[in-house]
Symmetry: C2
Subunit: 168 residues, 2 copies
């Protein structure tokens, strides 16, 4: 049977994005309990020249919707990066999940060898669908979800691996 | 054609582990340039109750070798957690890659529905092979590789996304 391109993409991204939303719920509860301005937490970074929490969430969302759209060969919906609060970041995640799950499986299945071209560091890079999904979209996506987790954890939010893994 | 279980596992883990080794090279160069004891860098954590860098590397290795062994139905090789230096951590990665790539593709292919049982939080949890690989092994693996990156980056090591992504 093997793994279909759909199985390996849309539902997997949606699942982890739901977990990311749960991480933000815990971040919000932490801020409320300690009277921390949510915009301060959203602006926290591991070091000055890395993206803050809010941007990690936005890029995780963009990586997931970009991957699903490119594999399906449909336009990538544009989401403005205006989120300031936990509620807005969760809304960003929710609309990303809605888009991802709106793409029919049959548009993504069969994209193994479809050429995906990205502009990276000023030049065009061409991948096959499999290579793009497994070697580029996945590691990027997990990078930003994990770094969002790490920022929250490093700032004292009571998160555990179970929140990140959710229901596999 | 779809994605085979082998394609989605062994070569992908090996690829990211090679990138992790490159991240450690840059960490080592940083320590040498600034006269930082490598054991101090290996002991750095994002917060007191998270694993230090050295343990993040060990767990990334263990997640990859555990996934490949469980899907293939072979014994998981035991690697003692004794690494203290960058050279030793890179050796740990190298022997993990050697094991991963020693498992024949045909042992992993066809494991989509193979039952994988893990002991998690004191109870047995059963997954199908696909669910285990995509929903448990991947997010865990990327979690520890990314957190290793985040610890090095947060301590001033000059890393970029390109080092993490490598050659997809």
């Amino acid at each position: 049977m093997k793994i279909s391109m759909y199985q390996a993409s849309a539902p997997r991204f949606a699942n982890m994005l739901r977990n990311l939303s749960t991480l933000l719920d815990k971040g919000q509860a932490h801020c409320e309990a300690r009277k921390i301005d949510p915009a301060v937490m959203g602006g926290m970074r591991l070091i000055a020249d890395m993206f803050p929490l809010s941007r990690q969430v936005q890029v995780a969302c963009d990586t997931a919707k970009g991957a699903v759209a490119r594999l399906a060969g449909v336009d990538i919906p544009k989401h403005e990066d205006t989120e300031q609060t936990f509620a807005e970041l969760k809304q960003r995640i929710a609309k990303t999940i809605d888009f991802i799950l709106s793409v029919p499986a049959e548009k993504i299945d069969g994209s193994e060898d479809r050429q995906v071209t990205l502009r990276l560091g000023g030049r065009e890079v061409a991948f096959t669908g499999i290579q793009y999904l497994l070697g580029f979209a996945y590691p990027n996506f997990y990078f930003h979800v994990t770094t969002a987790y790490d920022i929250l954890r490093a700032n004292g939010v009571d998160l555990g691996k179970r929140d990140y893994i959710g229901t596999p």
